[in-house]
Amino acid sequence: MSTISLQPLHPYPIADLLTFEPLPLVACRVAAGFPSPAEDWLEEKLDLNQFLIQRPAATFFVRVEGDSMLGAGIHPGDLLVVDRSVNPTDGKVILAVLDGEFTVKRLRLDPPRLVAENRAFPDIPITAERAFEVWGVVTNVIHAL
């Protein structure tokens, strides 16, 4: 008959939970009184938010379901960072609303059409008859490996 012994947990001390800073890439404990040679060279910690989000008020996250943009590196299940403040210009990947439905496609302007990055999907012309709106420009895709 085997016995199970419970290992005591070593959780983070509560004081550490109170500082809401991103974890430093290198943690270094300095004994009091010893001047660190790195003091003058310390920089801000790296923050993914700064990297991905230029204008938080205009940035939204969206989940991909379809595979029409595989060629652009956008897979089903990926997360898209959509910035509504970026101007939609020729060649940008956009989140568009076509006849009330969302779709992610590359915008081409001469002639105006929505292009997929998957041979199974035909180009969609943008005409006056169809209700078309640019919801935002896709700036980044986050793909878990």
Partner: protein, 414 residues
């Protein structure tokens, strides 16, 4: 330099928020229902055109809603609050000073801007592009004029209106002026004053005698003299209350205790977020006054603390003690409420001479850890045992849209 105020307000805010994430709702009549899907608290223009009024009870107009194919949504304050924060952030980044007035309105300082109408029009376009929310902007030398301008702006094509003189309000009904309620309106109408322009021309001494200093301020403001300044820092709350109605009438004490525990957790979090402590607490119960066939009982009890409190379990303990004293079986309660009173900054700590708190630092650290975890893992991830998990007091919200901007599992899917 003469001040220039702007009032920026979102058009049909709740309905507009729903439309951002569900574009096929454009052009359709939409109503948004209050907590517990009770009554209409927002309508799109198409719903207004159908004659649906603010405050209409949902069950009363149910057939009409179905007949006209009106889209019905339960209020999604999580979404509305986030969208509001985005709009306010854009205003804050583009104006020297902003006073947030409500979830969908803010006053801005437009003083010294060249061509303020053009600037306002561009700001409007920016908000619309960045968030999808349409806004209207009224400009004026005073807050009252800016608010009037905002009302007029809704009828213009570019959504902006600058009220430069009182004559612009020659056809503006006084009831739509800020600060003029039904009583004032009735009085003024009886004396031949029905428009903004007429009120601006009224004798100030007479107005002061009959409408008080508040009335006189309105007249000064209508004439371009600003009496009300921008308040950028919201004054600290005098009390914090949570008294949500139950989804269904509750009669048993454990269920009401659980609801009270949830509300105490809520107000305690709000209080701590404003860095306050409370010196007194009040608990009350309400039966349904519309059920005249049922016995009524609406007790209330308060108590004072020896020392100001911030720690949720301390507040829970006292609130439950008060509830136990006022609860009586045999009543169908529709609401329990808790109010934190006598709020003051939590530091410096006023110590009691007779029963001083000895574990303050320890409690503060524990509470901070719990607050942090609840922010990270969702509201009430850690809750006091009394709250339980049955949540019988939870409100109906059958047609709520997803929290598209605050929950990973509820994002827009494309």
């Amino acid at each position: 330099m003469p001040r220039l105020f702007g009032l920026v307000d979102c058009n049909n805010f709740y309905a507009s928020c729903e439309r951002v994430f569900e574009p096929r709702l454009k052009g359709r009549p939409i109503v948004v229902l209050s907590n517990n899907d009770g009554c209409v608290i927002a309508r799109s223009n198409e719903a207004k055109a159908l004659g649906i009024k603010m405050g209409d009870a949902e069950f009363k107009i149910r057939t009409e809603l179905r007949q006209h194919d009106v889209v019905v949504r339960s209020s999604n304050y999580t979404l509305y609050g986030d969208m509001s924060a985005r709009v306010m952030q854009i205003l804050d980044a583009n104006l020297p000073a902003v006073e947030i007035y409500s979830i969908d309105e803010a006053f801005g300082d437009f003083t010294g801007i060249d061509d303020p109408c053009r600037f306002a029009a561009e700001l409007r376009i920016m908000v619309r592009q960045w968030t999808g929310i349409p806004v209207s902007i009224g400009l004026g030398a005073s807050k009252v004029l800016a608010k009037a301008g905002n009302k007029l702006a809704k009828k213009t094509l570019n959504g902006v209106r600058h009220v430069q003189r009182a004559d612009d309000l020659a056809e503006f009904p006084i009831r739509d002026l800020w600060g003029i309620g039904p009583a004032h309106e009735a009085f003024l109408t009886a004396h031949g004053i029905t428009t903004g322009a007429q009120l601006a021309a009224a004798d100030r001494v007479w107005i002061r005698a009959h409408l008080g200093v508040v009335g006189e301020r309105i007249v000064w403001e209508l004439n371009g003299t600003s009496c009300l300044s921008l308040e950028e820092i919201a004054p600290a709350k005098k009390n914090i209350c949570c008294a949500k109605g139950f989804g269904q009438a509750l009669t048993e004490l454990p269920d009401i205790q659980a609801a009270l525990a949830a509300y105490v957790a809520r107000v305690a979090e709000k209080m701590r977020s404003q860095k306050l402590a409370c010196g007194a607490l009040s608990v009350f119960l309400l039966t349904n006054p519309f059920r005249t066939d049922e016995p009524q009982y609406n007790p209330q009890l308060s108590s004072e603390f020896a020392e100001p409190k911030t720690f949720t379990p301390d507040l829970q303990h006292e609130a439950q003690r008060l509830l136990a004293r006022i609860y009586r079986p045999g009543f169908r309660f529709r609401k329990v409420g808790v109010m934190l009173l006598d709020l003051a900054p939590h530091l410096p700590i006023q110590r009691s001479l007779f029963r001083p708190e000895t574990r303050f630092a320890e409690k503060a650290r524990l509470q901070a850890a719990i607050d942090h975890l609840n922010r990270q893992y969702g509201r009430d991830a850690i809750r006091t045992a009394r709250q339980g998990f049955a949540d019988k007091h939870r409100l109906r919200a059958e047609k709520k849209s997803r929290c598209f901007t605050t929950r990973w599992e509820e994002l827009l899917r494309v």
